[in-house]
Amino acid sequence: MKAPDFAYVKPATLAEAFGLLENPNAKILAGGQSLIPSLNMRLSSPELLVDITGLAGLSGISVQGNSIKIGALATHAQIEKSEDIRKHVPLLAQAVPHIAHAAIRNRGTIGGSLALADPAAEYPACAVALEAVFIIKNKTSERRVNAERFFKGLFDTDLKPGELLVAVEFPVATKSDRSVFLELTRRHGDYAIIGLAAHNSRFVFLGAGSTPVLIKGDSMEKAKAALSKSLNPSADLYNSSATKLHLAGVLLERAWNTITT
């Protein structure tokens, strides 16, 4: 289908962007790889699209001491190709190729994916596993939110109207850190049936609830016990809740074996 009518502005400065976002019917447009399909399917009908891709300071990947800062506008493809990410945030590097397809990764952004908070998306689970910090700005101030507190519900985040997610900080991996990303799909590039971002003793499932689901466990037994207690995945078109729970256990075991060997 075709999108409904809307106005379009591409601000050159943050101040201009925040001014435009005062309109309650304005919507932020980043890579457009989730927003434009929803417009095409007429699931959303904003009055104004504020294209943030011209804003300086929201892109780039930089190592800053013990953390690595990824601008909201960094695309999946840029993250996939980044040497710094491969070296310092290996979990993210493993996760990116699972996101959609090359043509979509060329435009989709990390900021857009985190702000959308699709429960089956890869980045939100990685952010929770790695205890990433989100940097959020509005017209007058800046605040920092931990990943665990950012994801509130199904497609619901801590972002308030008029706010922009400007960057995310991930800790630089240390020598003793072990992490692994695993995902099951029917076809490469599809959203996950179930997936797991594991970092040391933090196991975060995607596609398993309305937000990324964190399970902690410093032994396999503890993690498995926690899994059956806290995971209640909803069925999808092809898989029952019981199937997903079973698959989650399979991924947990695989991750545990990878991390401990």
Binding site: M1, K2, A3, P4, D5, F6, A7, Y8, K10, G32, Q33, I36, P37, L39, N40, M41, L49, D51, T53, A77, A100, H101, A102, A103, I104, N106, R107, R187, H188, G189
Partner: protein, 157 residues
């Protein structure tokens, strides 16, 4: 009333200026305003890949980008890559392997395949399938498409 905007972009090497509605996607602009009907519109929500074009050298979904967003960009379509002969090896291989039947998916397939040709000196069938997972073909069963691309990248076995 529709919201219209002036855009200037370079399409297949030629500079064009037009006035477009904000809601028009790039693939409809190419097809309807510029009559470049080689890029196809299938699903219009990013899953089928029939609309694949190149923007500033990288492949994108023509249905998931607005024409206004292409302002100032370099856009290359199947017509441009075909005329410049950039695609001739792939086109010959597709022809020889019967890698198309109705042809609806073929322009998008070729754009995605050429991206692989440019980025790989050697490739496995598995990698070709992974990369083409974003391009649907309802006719061929993919085997012949993978054969054709494999031959162009790895040479005749």
């Amino acid at each position: 009333m529709e919201h219209d905007y002036d855009i200037t972009l370079t399409v297949n090497g030629t500079k064009v200026s037009r006035r477009v509605p904000a809601r028009q996607h790039l693939v409809d602009f190419l097809r309807e305003d510029l009559e470049l009907t080689g890029s196809h519109a299938g699903c219009e929500h990013g899953v089928c890949g029939a609309c694949t074009v190149r923007v500033n050298g990288e492949i994108v979904r023509g249905c998931l980008m607005l024409a206004v967003q292409a302002n100032g960009c370099r856009v290359d379509t199947i017509e441009g890559l075909s005329d410049s002969k950039e695609l001739s090896k792939l086109q010959t291989a597709f022809h020889e392997h019967n890698a198309l039947q109705c042809g609806f998916c073929t322009p998008g397939m070729l754009m995605a395949a050429q991206d692989l040709v440019l980025k790989n000196k050697k490739i496995s069938r598995e990698e070709i399938r992974t990369q083409l997972s974003g391009n649907f073909c309802r006719c061929t069963g993919y085997q012949a498409i993978v054969d054709a691309i494999e031959e162009v990248i790895n040479g005749k076995g």
